[in-house]
Amino acid sequence: MSETTPAMPVTATAAVGSPPPPLAPETKPGYVEKPASLWSDAWYDLRRRPLFIMSSILIAVLVVMALFPSLFTSINPMDATTCQLSTARQPPSAAHWFGKDNLGCDVYARTIYGARISIIVGITTTIVTAMVGGLLGLIAGFAGGATDSVMSRVTEIFFAIPSILGALLILAVFRTGNVWTVMLALAVLAWPMTFRIMRAAVITAKSQDYVVAARALGAGSGRLMFRHILPNAVTPVIVVATINLGMFISAEAALSFLGVGIQSPDISWGVMISDARPRFLEAAGPLLFPAAFLSVTVLAFIMLGDAVRDALDPKLR
């Protein structure tokens, strides 16, 4: 259908200027009240998406695995006595589902315990980048002018630095890699993306009629920013944050693989892949099992992000 009529008040024109008929009417109730029902609409929509259901179940299992790994395995891989060098690279068996690694440790138990670091790094980095990038983006978009120009130039600088190499450098400064330094290194390089998205969304929201009206009615800057603009600009940030969560988990594994991230004896899937690598061609299991878990975890978060995006804003597709 291509008929469009410019919006004109009926009483002032000869045109048949009534609003176009609802060809595809909103069957969902309460569409008028925008922010509240956007979320309830999205939730209604999400619950019936197979992608969302699948990824939610996966993520729930992974979170439980991160919190209570002992529910999944009776072996505590942190205890070095559970490893026997003589059984190194044993293939999978009933007792050791994923076999043994180069040091004769149980790959299954280590893989289960590896979930914790991935989940912590993923979630904390996401929260930190969303808060920092989001807040700065809100300020830049709201303030405009010189503030915006300066802040935008600064983010451009960060965009120019290749992220894995940048993270590698930052981690080298710290000497010891752990969950927090990895989180920091990733966040330092990732916040500009959230900044950009938030800034664009705020600039769009700022020019909306209801914001202009609120301003005209004398709403203060703080109230405008947090009551009127933020709720309407936060959607794209949430979508990108969910997708990035998976990317952070992937990046943690990469940095740990390179030896600058998580260090033994802490267990991370990246560390496991790195450890298994020298004998990879003889025994692929110790590398492939954590790799599979890593992939599924990243996949789960990216599927969740895709589903959330489709539900919240079909236009972002």
Binding site: M1, S2, T4, A12, A14, A15, V16, S18, P19, P21
Partner: protein, 345 residues
């Protein structure tokens, strides 16, 4: 279902008895997630050579969908044509092969769209886009096609056509862009030209110029012209006859001056009353109350009944057929007599 057909309207320009283009009991539906939308429900109209037919209606009345069905540019699916014929010089185009259809499209039946800025391709020069008609359909060389494009731009009175042929659409003003659209559509001397709200996006002075240009081109080439519009004022001077559409149906068909003088359908009457008039200056303008019908949930009986000042009980229960009032006009209103009488006051 339609019961009466009053399609043989003798008009000034009509030659012979076979219409150039005949839309006959056309139905178009769209399948959407919410259900099947019946956008066009049994529309019939004829167009003779040299004649101008204005199709009037608001958004969603089915006027543009009908035009797109004639052009064969509906997306099918989701669109579907369950019944009806569209005869071009006696041949039902809906039965033709895609190949045969595309031989007619653009060459013998051409179309102008509402918003020329979005209807023209932003990345090609206007010369390229006009010339394409000659290159693709007539196998002309680039240079000859370019020459033809300049001639056409001259013909639609674009100043400095020779230089501007190398410009891109966004470099033209709205009126000039619509002229380019027109130049492109008349490139191969079509027998039928459909103009879908050709002036809606333009300001009033330019509107008049474009209408004048269309009327003039039509006189010169004796083509049949279908003017689709929601604005009665725009077509009054150029159209010969009019078909008013509402909710996917034709509610009134008449010669243009008959409708102006004495509308025979409450909807046409409402449209006329809402035109600002110099002699009634200062008075509040009439507006048809209510909203256009929801095509997914059409009111029972006559689609216009919820907004109609003439409504009686049977309007809700019984859909009016297209009553033949005279052999030049018909109205789909049970109470067309009362409406006519009311118009005579």
């Amino acid at each position: 279902m339609m019961t009466t057909h009053t399609d043989v309207l003798p008009t000034e320009g009509g030659l012979g008895n076979t219409p150039l283009l005949a839309v006959d009991n056309l139905h178009v539906e769209f399948s959407t997630r919410q259900g099947v939308v019946k956008a066009v429900n049994g529309v019939s109209y004829d167009l003779y050579q040299g004649e101008t037919l204005a199709v009037l209606g608001e958004s969603g009345s089915g006027k543009s969908v009908t035009a797109q069905a004639i052009m064969g540019i509906l997306d099918m699916p989701p669109a579907r044509i369950p019944h009806g014929e569209i005869r071009f010089r006696g041949t039902d185009m809906l039965k033709l092969t895609d190949e045969a259809r595309s031989q007619i499209r653009g060459q013998r039946i051409a179309m102008i769209f509402q918003d020329a800025l979005s209807a023209l391709n932003p990345v090609f020069t206007v010369g390229w886009q006009i010339g394409e008609m000659f290159r693709v359909h007539r196998g002309m060389s680039k240079r000859d096609a370019q020459k033809k494009a300049i001639e056409l731009m001259d013909r639609v009175r674009i100043p400095a056509a020779k230089q501007r042929v190398h410009d891109y659409p966004h470099q033209f003003s709205g009126g000039m862009r619509q002229r380019i659209m027109i130049a492109m559509s008349i490139a191969l001397d079509p027998e039928v030209l459909i103009a879908d709200e050709p002036t809606t996006a333009l300001d009033v002075t330019v509107q008049a110029q474009i209408m004048e240009l269309l009327a003039e081109l039509q006189r010169e080439s004796n083509m049949g012209l279908i003017l689709i519009t929601h604005d009665l004022g725009v077509v009054a001077d150029v159209a010969d006859k009019i078909a008013v559409m509402y909710g996917g149906r034709i509610v009134e068909k008449a010669l243009v001056h008959d409708v102006y003088r004495t509308p025979a359908h409450p909807y046409s009457k409402g449209l006329l009353d809402s035109i600002p008039r110099v002699d009634l200056k200062g008075q509040e303008l009439y507006a048809i109350k209510g909203l256009p019908p929801n095509l997914l949930a059409m009111p029972p009986g006559c689609a216009f009944n919820p907004r109609c000042p003439y409504r009686q009980d049977n309007c809700v229960s019984e859909a009016p057929p297209l009553y033949e009032i005279s052999h030049t006009r018909s109205s789909a209103c049970h109470y067309w007599r009362e409406v006519l009488d009311g118009s005579h006051e």
